[in-house]
Symmetry: C2
Subunit: 223 residues, 2 copies
């Protein structure tokens, strides 16, 4: 029997300027335990900026989102422009500021954010095909920027300003605890706040595992 | 009751020039599930080189081991020079080429490798204090370079050349499957081959979890 092909969309390598590393690895780990085939993608574009994760300050020179994302997955990654919805049963977006700085400009422009065209394409095409998607941490904001007009329901944690920006897209913010998830059954979108909370790694892992299980269950037609 | 303080020694951020990211996050995850206090350290030194993980080719400019390691742990890391054995009940070294390129020169000089002085210090002082240590993937080679004269027993997977280099230090290579570990009871050293095998993430995780549990059990006086 063919394994379900689950896309994981990355945005760099590091919480402050790319994909949150711990969220990404746990997503890969829980997906692998489900026995699915994982296909990783990232846009081939320079990062918005590079942050020194020791000091929190900006540093140079520029880094490329696809090249840095490759670190997370031992080189097994492709340009997001090559991702075909027909070859994926579901996609999951881990969090990290890269979702709000590289995949979109949500960190700077909130509900008026621009979304990278390949990111917007994959989210729109997955929705049009009624295929399931998962969004972690700040990544639900990217979903809201693309599908807000559908009134999609997503988590973001308990940051009032960020929740307001989500709602301003037309999407509906849903308050959930760190170990919990929200399931938008109509649009087949699962989301969890993860490190939007100042939480422990096992707490973050609990929410991520629930999203992974929900998305894979949808992809298998079990939910 | 005071939590056991477990040091995790990092070597950068990415399998080909630093710490293996997936091994590191799983080590942190399994340690956190044990309820211990995690303290991360890395030497404040430039990486041997920077590898583009998409192409496998060398790239510039230089990156700093401590600064890049900070990405793995959301900035919660200290210079290894500040690590005090009296403040740690155990230490664990994840793998990745950084162990053999930045923490030591094992990748280039085998049994004749130089070891970063702060790395050698922490390993020697932990052993002298009879405190437990864990080594994953290629990191047992660093242990062998420092403690080979004691005949320490460590895993390395099934690469004959690497195993021979381990044995040439005076250490004893022990053949173990990816999900398994080796326990050197006399020296309180646990090791597992992890991604020295071309294995799946759950297989790698199984070996890492065993090493973490063994090291924490020693730290608690339960083993």
């Amino acid at each position: 029997m063919m394994k379900e092909r689950i896309g994981v969309i990355l945005s760099g390598c590091g919480v402050y300027d790319g994909s949150e590393i711990q969220e990404t690895v746990l997503t890969l780990f829980f997906l692998a335990r489900q026995g699915v085939e994982i296909r990783c993608f990232a846009p081939n574009v320079d990062q918005h900026h590079v942050i020194n994760h020791l000091t929190g300050e900006e540093m140079g020179p520029a880094r490329n989102v696809l090249v840095e994302s490759a670190r997370l997955v031992r080189g097994q990654i492709s340009d997001l422009a090559t991702a075909q919805v027909e070859e994926l049963e579901a996609v999951i977006f881990p969090g990290g500021f890269g979702a709000a700085k590289n995949l979109s400009s949500f960190a700077f422009e909130g509900a008026n954010a621009k979304v990278h065209p390949e990111v917007a394409r994959i989210i729109r095409e997955m929705r049009a095909a009624e295929k399931p998607m998962g969004f972690l941490c700040i990544a639900p904001a990217v979903c809201a920027c693309v599908l807000g007009d559908l009134g999609v329901e997503v988590t973001i944690g308990r940051d009032a300003e960020t929740a307001a920006a989500i709602n301003a897209t037309g999407a509906v913010h849903v308050d959930r605890a760190v170990e919990d998830l929200h399931v938008d059954t109509a649009r087949r979108i699962a989301s969890a706040p993860a490190y939007m909370y100042d939480a422990t790694l096992p707490e973050v892992a609990a929410g991520i595992e629930r999203v992974v299980k929900q998305v894979v269950a949808w992809a298998r037609g079990e939910a």
